[in-house]
Amino acid sequence: MVRYIANKLFYTLISLFILISATFFLMKAIPGDPFMSEKKVPEEIRQRLMEQYGLDKPVFQQYIKYLGDIVQGDLGISMKKINQEVSDIIGQTFSASLKLGLVAIVVSVIIGVVLGLLAALYHRKIIDNITMVLAVLGIAVPSFVLASLLQYVFASKLHWLPTMGFKGPLYYVLPVAALSAQPIAFIARLTRSSMLEVLHADYIKTAKAKGLSWFAILTRHVVRNGIMPVVTYMGPMTANIVTGSVVIEQIFGIGGIGKQFVQAITSRDYPMIMGITIFYGALLMIARLVTDVAYGLIDPRIKLNARKEG
């Protein structure tokens, strides 16, 4: 297990290195720089700024220096948000994305699994049909449409919930609903089909024949095996939701990390672009690693340490 994780970590580091290098040179290839504006600053001042931030040096030299800083864990200082540390900005804005994202994930998993389970148990009954219609809707309706609709109905028309901001529990309701609709639908469908498969498996019949109670069969065999595809899906979903849905954050005025990323790119804030890219990259890779490990915990057939390579 330990060897497996160490192995994975090694490959994660190599991927990160490739990610950093590719992003750095691609970013430098885009026209423009952090000090461009509609009203140009005088050439002397501009030159001084370029020197102070080391942008007057050849790109490769900048790259080597950046790698050196990264190794020491220094993400640098934003070139647009004067004197603010990139790591501070990431930390502060990511906390909003993370809180919202975790709530959305928990809500998605619970509702999704329960709906899927109900649909499987009452296969071809009315509950199944309703759930599946909802699931198709949930997948088909884009989240930003749902978000705008929710905002219009519950904030603008009914005045039940706040339109925007992130100041307390009430502020979570609409964005979480918009954010989790799609994962709920997806999880419900996944759970349903895999539960159906499990319900018809031979070992369930054996269990029944053994005289095990229906509840015990459900919790011990059906759910446990039926949930496997959901766990697989949870890795990418978590990374996706937590890294901040830019559109949802924008509609509900939540100052998450997604907004910072977009702004950093538009304003060519190089250290911010790099910082958030590395952060996103690391997060995605860790999410995958955790998924793999969780897989092994649930399904004894998968022996992590028995594998030669991840």
């Binding site: 885009i30 026209p31 423009g32 000090f35 461009m36 504006s37 509609e38 009203k39 140009k40 600053v41 005088p42 050439e43 002397e44 001042i45 001084r48 700024l49 102070q52 931030y53 070139m79 647009k80 948000k81 004067i82 004197n83 501070d88 900005i89 502060q92 804005t93 909003a96 993370l98 975790l102 709530v103 994930i105 928990v106 705008s148 905002q151 219009y152 904030a155 005045h159 706040p162 339109t163 925007m164 901001g165 992130f166 100041k167 307390g168 529990p169 011990r220 446990r224 924008q250 509609i251 005025g253 939540i254 100052g255 998450g256 702004q263 538009t266 060519r268 969780a294 915990l297 649930i298």
Partner: protein, 565 residues
């Protein structure tokens, strides 16, 4: 059995962490809410206006100010917030007239200004505001050693030797025309008579800063460290989320400040801002800190006619011709393109926000010698829209250049729904009126700027807004080789006039020079095609009073108050 337990544990953990994180909401510093009520009660006696008990103003900024250091600021969001927190030597009233600010009086003698700092001007930590604080702040802006280099240092170039000091030609700040004679007297000497300099001292680059910032690069990133001299202090700041300022009890004129708190959300989307305003979460929405989506303007105008506010502001929206690119090296062809569009239709049907059709460079709101410059010099005298005339000019121009057919033409604009609609309408008018096919290309902001600066375009969208209240702010950028001249425009006669205006101290004559220069630029050369003068569209709750929007569209909330609904 053991495995299922660990699964359960995992799920429980996720659940617990999630709930915990969601519960610990915001951790911003809560400052006392009680101290503003006193002032609110005082002001309640004025006339029959009844002040609301809760003087908390709620507004939205569509972008987070990148800095609260006056020396580093360069955008309108920072301007809005810095105005709450700082005060320059003077401040401007609604008509753009200078009122005493940190300076209670001043004398002007040609190029020499003497400011008398008021005795009771104090920093938020209780220290007195002195002439040295201004000299210190200005030196900080100009010093080549300041990190990062203040981009707006050139706003101080009117001061004697300021440019030389900033560019390193002079090493000794004592040669620069700024001197603190004593604690309360500041002497400033300028290069040339500059009628707008007094107004400029209300601009953020010229705000004083507390001298303790010298050894602390991060002073402007932490609310607890910021020492200010304005009516409000920064009390909470959650990056990317919200800002809050609270009344400063040390401010010399605190009795005229009725608001207790201003809380600002940082939401980018204009649609969300509008919904939030409708839902009663904001007191004001729209320009200059946000934007009402163009397609919503006619709707809100109907829906909330009493709250709908339009004000012309000093900015010009235009399409610039690259005089170094075919076919626009020819003035007649430029004129033909400019005369063949219907500006009234554009402002009425496309932009719909009370913009004014433009035929000149200098917008409404900019002062001339006696009245507004635009009132004194009618821009309709420069040219008029006329399709037949335009067709004739195009033909003549093509003959001059030996074209049988115009080269392929593309107009570029930066991303934005509004820009796209205007471009589509204009290209359509050219097609209909001149029979010319023009392509449209939208470009990402950085790419767009680069192309414009490198003269890598034929026609490009552009806009210019005032830095100070004088025609000069719209004119000196088009002199030969000027940093912002991205037209390839060069006319010695124009350069000569701008140069002459700098040393002219007679306001009337100076005004005539500007009018002459504008005539050359537009009527004779049609170096760019003016489209409209900007306006600010906003929604304001009826119980919000005392908000000041100046000529440039900058907003001053410091003297605002809320009445009972």
């Amino acid at each position: 059995m053991k495995k299922s337990k660990s699964l359960l544990l995992l799920l429980t953990l996720v659940l617990a962490v999630g709930t915990l994180l969601s519960a610990c909401g915001s951790n911003e510093a809560k400052n006392s809410a009680s101290n503003g009520n006193k002032a609110a009660n005082n002001a309640a006696n004025e006339g029959d206006v009844k002040l609301a008990a809760d003087q908390t103003l709620k507004i939205n900024l569509s972008a987070e100010p990148p800095t609260f250091d006056p020396a580093q600021a360069q955008d309108s969001q920072a301007n809005t917030v810095l105005k709450m927190m700082y005060e320059g030597l003077v401040r401007l009233d609604a008509d753009g007239k200078e009122l005493p600010g940190a300076a209670e009086s001043w004398e002007v003698d040609g190029t020499k200004y003497t400011f008398h700092i008021r005795e009771d001007a104090k920093w938020s930590n209780g220290d007195p505001v002195t002439a040295n604080d201004f000299a210190f702040a200005w030196e900080r802006v100009l010093s080549p050693d300041t990190q990062p280099a203040p981009p707006y240092a050139y706003q101080l170039y009117y001061i004697k030797n300021a440019e030389e000091f900033n560019t390193g030609k002079i090493k000794d700040f004592s040669e620069v025309g700024v001197k603190a004679v004593d604690e309360k007297t500041l002497e400033v000497e300028l290069n040339n008579p500059t009628p707008y300099f007094l107004g400029l001292t209300s601009f953020y680059t010229l705000y004083p800063v507390h001298q303790s910032v010298k050894d602390d690069a991060k002073w402007a990133t932490d609310p607890n460290k910021m020492i200010v001299n304005g009516p409000f202090t920064l009390t909470a700041w959650t990056t990317g989320q919200s800002l809050e300022v609270t009344k400063n009890e040390q401010y010399w004129d605190k009795d005229s400040i009725k608001l207790n708190k201003i809380s600002m959300s940082l939401v980018e989307s204009g649609a969300t801002e509008l919904e939030s305003y409708r839902n009663g979460e904001l007191h004001r929405a729209g320009a200059p800190n946000g934007e009402i989506p163009a397609d919503q303007i006619p709707i809100v105008q109907q829906e909330m006619p009493d709250e709908y506010k339009v004000k012309g502001i000093a900015g010009t929206y235009y399409y610039q011709f690259n005089s170094k690119a075919e076919p626009f090296q020819n003035a007649k062809i430029r004129k033909a393109f400019s005369m063949a569009i219907d500006r009234q239709a554009i402002v009425e049907r496309i932009t719909q926000g009370g913009q004014i059709p433009a035929f000149g460079m200098v917008p409404e709101g900019i002062l001339g010698s006696d009245d507004q410059f635009r009132t004194e010099h009618n821009d309709k005298d420069y040219f008029q829209e006329n399709v037949d005339e335009a067709k004739k000019l195009l033909e003549e121009g093509m003959k001059e250049e030996g074209y049988t057919k115009l080269p392929e033409i593309t107009v570029i604009h930066n991303n934005g729904e509004g820009h796209k609609k205007v471009a589509t309408a204009i290209v359509d008018m050219w097609k209909k009126n001149l029979g010319v096919d023009v392509k449209i290309q939208n470009q990402e902001w950085g790419v767009f700027l680069k192309n414009r600066q490198n003269l890598d375009y034929q026609i490009a969208r552009s806009g210019w807004s005032a830095d100070f209240n004088d025609p000069m702010t719209f004119m000196d950028l088009w002199t030969t080789g000027a940093g912002n001249n991205d037209l390839g425009y060069s006319n010695p006669e124009y350069d000569e006039l701008i140069k002459a205006s700098r040393s002219e101290s007679d306001l009337k004559k100076r005004d005539e020079i500007f009018a002459k220069a504008e005539e050359i630029f537009i009527k004779q050369d049609m170096a760019y095609m003016p489209i409209y003068y900007y306006s600010n569209v906003a929604l304001e709750k009826p119980n919000l009073k005392g908000v000041i929007l100046d000529y440039s569209g900058a907003i001053d909330y410091t003297r605002a108050y809320l009445t009972e609904e």
